[in-house]
């Protein structure tokens, strides 16, 4: 069997899995004791630990900003200080002033301590400048060696020549790069290069190779690129013109359909009725004295007819104006009829009227026809242009497509070539780097001390290496050595910044502290008067305190805090990274002192952690006790007696237990809302209301209790009843004591369940002070606190520990209890 043969393997796998699974817990523990801002740190764990988060949660310290606020409250007699006597106020103010002074003193001493360590560090660093330098040179040399041994071997072929040309084409004779690569160049060309002429000749030679190898492709690519951009430009221009044209055409169409078409239509109808009139005139009998002259009508009608026909001719070229065509066709017919007249009509008297009407209408039709024709002359051109442009556009698009295909082909070809040249390029880059590194090493060797100028030089070396490391794209020994060197030398930057930050901190802290002391002194001498005024019933605030508060809130954070936290962080890094390991304790001390000073002065978020925990415990205990008692009593008859409704009672209990309390929330919320109007302590946003809504959990627990009662032999009660006890007495005096374990278990289960409940509490509670632990913890985790992991994880751990211990201690019961319902004994 596998397990017998590889028990170690099983253990190993189990341990590994457990570590993986419990990692979130480990994370909570480790993050809760971190001193740095874990969310922004690049490290998973850190050695800078503190219990400050727990202190902030459990015994929040009245630090400087809080004290200032409290003093102000005392002066203004704001809650909770609105009921105390003047004497007491004075005492408290004195006490707070004393405490504030002690904070100032503490800041001073801690600052002095930090300074001491700081001086020690800079002295030691100076003393050991030589050692630091040699260490540095050593690691640089190591890097150099690694590069030397790992430079790829290459053959001096055309590919190499092409790469060389790339590198050298913009270099002058005798430049550094040239000098480094000179030897290779000479062996490639086969002759000595010791003056500019031979260099030019050699470059020309290389350029020929480059051209055949890479250059031709590159040039063609460039040509295509240029052509493509030109084509794209043309296409864009075309597009622009098309869109202007198309909007013009659309406007004309609109005019046609909205203005011309209706008019034409009505005219056509009118002329049609005119024709009808004419046919009727034939039948009239009244004759005119002389034959009416209609030659003018005939000629104009003829003209109009021709006009109509020609317009129709134009229009028939387009599909889109069918309606207009239809109308014109009708008009054409109408006019043919108008012209087509019998001579007899000229004798009729009414013919005159017909002619008059015709003459009235004629100009309108003429005008409309003219307009239509004009429009079409213009639009026709546009439409043709549009068509042409469209064709052109399609052509260009196709060309673009073709060209870009070729371009991307070329691109991939170039890329391929480039890849074949990678090794050579790497070789050249490394050669160059090696040489430059050598120069840097020599330069570093000339540095004598550790002044700030020297640090700048060191820093330049680091930047140089880091830049190369960033541009070096390969994963090999060189790259790992590079990143190792960068991390070895990181202390240079950290140290430089640390020096600057600490000096700034030091300088500004003294200033701020001095002004704080002065203000506090002012306050000390002046507060008596203010207090008397305040106690005479007038609302006052101390200006001195307002200024002090500004000083702490604004000046301190702008001048000191930023530098101080960075200095502290740098010290934390230098603890492990410093080139002189024995300075670790000094850095640690500085870090510690600065952290403490920060805690004295910084504005901390206000929270009610202890209130929350207390609320949770109250709610969970009360719910636990009530549920346990109610269930203990209710389960008894179900276990011992037979009565109507027993089976369905149990079943409905079983069913009800499946519905979580949340599902009733709408109703219970409204119930609480209603109750709160009359019974204050049962309303929304009260603990009473929350307890009330948690009492839904009796069904499940009653079932559990009944199960346990079933295991107690009934003979015990029977004996008691024989001895004269009532039924209730036998329950109360025999069953309940025996069932004590299950009572405890049910209580604990309900307690845990209630403590762990979130959603119902979220609905019922609104005020931050009334929150339970669960809701409070959420406030640590959302919004502005999303990245403040310290307080959150500490609070999480504090809530988690007791629950886990409670749970694990009940493990045995849980395991057997859970399966009891299913496993039949």
């Amino acid at each position: 069997m596998v397990q017998r043969r590889f028990p170690i393997l099983t253990h190993g796998v189990m341990i590994l899995l457990i570590i993986l699974i419990l990692f979130p817990v480990v994370w909570v523990v480790s993050t809760s004791i971190r001193r740095d801002e874990a969310a922004f740190s690049t490290k998973l764990f850190t050695s800078r630990v503190t219990l400050q988060n727990y202190i902030d949660l459990l015994t929040p310290e009245k630090n400087v900003p809080v004290l200032v606020q409290e003093l102000q409250n005392l002066i203004s007699r704001v809650k909770p200080y609105d009921r105390i006597t003047q004497q007491r106020s004075r005492e408290m103010i004195d006490k707070y002033i004393k405490r504030m002074e002690s904070y100032f003193d503490e800041t001073e001493t801690r600052h002095a301590l930090a300074k001491q360590s700081f001086n020690n560090i800079s002295i030691k660093m100076q003393e050991n400048a030589e050692k630091i330098k040699s260490d540095l040179i050593e690691s640089l040399k190591k890097l150099s060696e690694t590069v030397q041994t790992n430079v790829p071997r290459i053959s001096l072929n055309d590919s190499y020549a092409a790469v060389l040309y790339e590198k050298l084409q913009n270099e002058r004779f005798n430049s550094t790069t040239f000098n480094i690569l000179k030897q290779d160049l000479e062996s490639l060309t086969g002759y000595q290069i010791d003056n500019a002429d031979t260099y030019v000749q050699a470059l020309w030679q290389l350029s020929e190779i480059y051209k055949t190898k890479v250059g031709l492709y590159v040039e063609e690519f460039k040509i295509y690129d240029k052509k493509l951009s030109e084509l794209n430009f043309v296409a864009q221009e075309l597009n622009k013109r098309i869109s202007t044209l198309q909007s013009e055409v659309l406007t004309t169409n609109l005019f046609l359909s909205e203005a011309i078409l209706p008019e034409m239509k009505s005219l056509s109808e009118v002329f049609q009725s005119l024709v009808d009139l004419k046919t009727k005139i034939y039948a009239t009998t009244t004759l005119s004295m002389i034959p009416i002259d209609d030659s003018k009508m005939l000629s104009t009608a003829q003209g109009l007819l021709e006009e109509i026909l020609s317009t129709l001719n134009i229009l028939r070229a387009y599909v889109d104006y069918e309606e207009l065509v239809k109308i014109l066709t009708t008009l054409e017919k109408t006019f043919t009829e108008i012209i087509n007249r019998d001579e007899s009509i000229t004798k009729k008297a009414q013919y005159n009227q017909f002619l008059e009407l015709y003459e009235n209408l004629r100009p309108r039709l003429e005008r409309v026809l003219m307009q239509t024709k004009e429009i079409f002359e213009e639009t026709g051109e546009k439409i043709i242009l549009l068509r042409n442009l469209n064709e052109k556009y399609v052509e260009i698009q196709e060309e673009i497509k073709e060209k870009s295909l070729r371009k991307s082909n070329l691109e991939s070809q170039i890329k391929e070539i480039g890849e074949s040249l990678t090794e050579y390029r790497r070789y050249v880059e490394l050669q160059l780097f090696k040489n430059q590194l050598g120069e840097r090493i020599i330069a570093v060797g000339n540095i004598k001390s550790l002044s700030s100028a020297d640090l700048t030089r060191y820093s330049a070396v680091l930047t140089f290496i880091r830049n190369f490391a960033n541009s070096y794209e390969f994963k090999d020994q060189i790259s790992s050595q590079l990143s190792k060197t960068v991390s070895d030398l990181r202390w240079i930057e950290e140290y430089r910044d640390f020096l600057r930050r600490f000096e700034n901190t030091s300088k500004n802290l003294d200033g701020v502290l001095a002004s704080c002391r002065a203000l506090l002194k002012d306050f000390k001498t002046s507060y008596e008067g203010l207090l008397s005024i305040s106690f005479s019933g007038t609302f006052v605030r101390s200006d001195v305190l307002t200024r002090l508060s500004d000083l702490v809130a604004m000046e301190f954070s702008s001048k000191v805090k930023a530098d101080m936290t960075v200095a502290s962080r740098r010290a934390g890094i230098l603890m492990d990274k410093s080139p002189l390991a024995f300075l670790k304790n000094d850095y640690k001390r500085i870090d510690k002192q600065l952290y403490r000073i920060d805690n004295i002065w910084k504005q901390k978020p206000k929270h009610y952690f202890l209130n929350w925990v207390l609320n949770s415990i109250i709610v969970a205990s009360v719910v636990g006790v009530i549920t346990t008692l109610v269930c203990a009593v209710a389960a008894y008859p179900f276990s011992r007696m037979r009565f109507r409704g027993r089976k369905y009672g149990l079943l409905s209990f079983l069913l009800i237990q499946m519905f979580p309390a949340v599902i009733f929330m709408i109703a219970i919320y409204n119930l609480l809302n209603f109750l709160g109007r009359y019974v204050t302590f049962l309303g929304i946003d009260t603990l009473g209301g929350l307890i009330f809504s948690y009492l839904t959990g009796i069904a499940y627990n009653m079932y559990l209790m009944k199960g346990f009662y079933d295991t107690i032999p009934p003979s015990l009660e029977e004996a008691a009843i024989v001895d004269g006890a009532t039924r209730f007495q036998s329950f109360y005096k025999i069953i309940l004591p025996l069932a004590r374990p299950i009572l405890v278990v049910v209580f604990l289960l309900v307690f845990i369940g209630t403590f762990n409940e979130f959603v119902v509490a979220r609905i019922v509670l609104q005020n931050v002070r009334n929150y339970t632990y669960a809701l409070g913890l959420q406030t640590f985790a959302v919004g502005p606190y999303e990245t403040e992991w310290g307080l959150f994880t500490a609070a999480a751990l504090l809530g988690m520990m007791p629950m886990v211990i409670l749970f694990l201690s009940m493990q045995r019961f849980l395991v057997s209890g859970l399966t009891r319902g299913a496993v039949k004994e």
Binding site: T10, L22, A634, I656, I698, F758, V759, M800, V804, Q811
Partner: protein, 579 residues
Amino acid sequence: MKKLMKLFLWFFLLLLNISFFWMTAFLIQNRYYELGITFAVLIFLIDFFVFNPKGYPYRYIIPALVLLFILVLYPIYFTIKTAFTNYGTGHFMPKEEAIERLLYSTKYTYIVPSNEVVSYRVFMAYDGINPTDDFIILFSIDDQIFISKKPVPVRRKGRDVILSEGILQRIESETFLYEGQRFKIVPWPSLFQEIKLLTTEGKSYKLFYAFDDQLLDINAPYFKTRIAQTHLANTDFIEPFSGKKYALRILPDGSWGFVRIERLYRLAYEEVYEDGRMKLKMILVNNVTNQRVQEKDGVFYDVNDKGEEIFLVGFIDYIGRKNFIRIITDPRVTGPFLSIFGWTFAWAALSVVLSLSVGLPFALVLNDPRLRGRNLYRTLLIIPWAIPAFISALVWRNGLLNETYGLFNKFLLPLFSLDPIRWFNDPFWARVGVLLVNIWLTFPYMMTISLGALQSIPVELYEAATVDGAGKLRRFSRITFPLLMTVIGPLLVSSFAFSFNNFTIIFLITAGGPPIPGSVTPTGYTDILMSYVYKLAFQAGTGQDFGFASAISIMIFLLVGTISLFNFKFSGAFEEVGR
């Protein structure tokens, strides 16, 4: 002793009866009929159980019954009732209350133009140097002086005062009787502006605030916040002879003064023809325009002179099956709803299946008695289950899944050169994220029940199988797994039903998000039905829709109830209960 006990019990029963009867009467009077009936039924049952010897077993259940009636049965009834109403934002009060507010709330009044000059002064009884809330107001209305003490609420809804009234009494002499107390004005005779003090038996009221007295401006904040807003906001001061009403308003010049007001609406009746008879119907009429107030979709509207409808107040109205129909027919509701519906089942099923498939292998390993340190392993593995779920959810959300700072995106994924995962904004990964956390939380439970069940499988079966030449895999698939399933099957179904409604993790990690686009209700890709209900009913910002939420609650009731009943059937709970 025994007698005393009995006496005490009878007394207690009497007290219970009285209080329940009172509550029933009170609730019904306040139109909470259902709750009133609940109490009536409860007290009837209690009395029946106590006085009927056959009811003896039931006496034990009384406390449980009270809780179940109020916290389970009534809520179920309430939920069903609400599902057929429009109860929610804008429709919070019953129609009767809405009418009452329209008729009596200060909001619905108008200022009567008049030439009266009304000014007032507030006189305050002090407690030492502190002002109290015992005050008297003197009014000067057209050079006549009136007095009113602190107004008394005349109409209220619970602790909400809809209307208070103060009765004005005219003062004609230096001393006068008011509310049975003799008051004296100091100094007298004087102009209204010169009165400094009001004294009565053992008490005096000092001049505290007057809007036209600069020297008293220092008291303005106290007057405005503590006196005006709490005692004068919904108040009419009535002059009993003329019946004129005065109320405090912020005047156009920014000062707080009293003006004559009148109610904007009045009750009227119109004749309607219904069921073949003329009947009278209650309507509300605007006193100024004499237009009747319109009633539409559970809202009262007033119509102004331009014919525009002005929203007045909404009330809870019966709207039939509209909420249910909306789920099916409104495309902006149906699509997201179906997505949520599907995900609810997927969430519950995947939670159970995946956490079982993590828990079971552990159980199999830990079940081997030859493995040393089994108890330690088991204890360690149970820890995720032991940690309160909300803590785990928050820890995962903030520390591990956070898109910018979380361990996954900052440390783990770059290790394999993978792109950061958008745990909260990508629908797929958000679902994976919540599932992952839920599996982490619940696999120990699965492991524990599997372990318990494995231990109940008799060893002889394995021995026999081994003798018959069955391999390890065959033994697992033919013996272990089937027997395991018969034992833990019902528990798995329970677990399914539990996950079905368990949205704490979803709520804390993604809050249901990322939101489903194009939905009119607050929906998200990781929302399950229960969290959807929660969002509909309680999420701030989107408005509350209790009616619609209740409709969906009913669907959850039915689904969970069905699943559970099937589970009882298959697990033999019916027989067990019958024993």
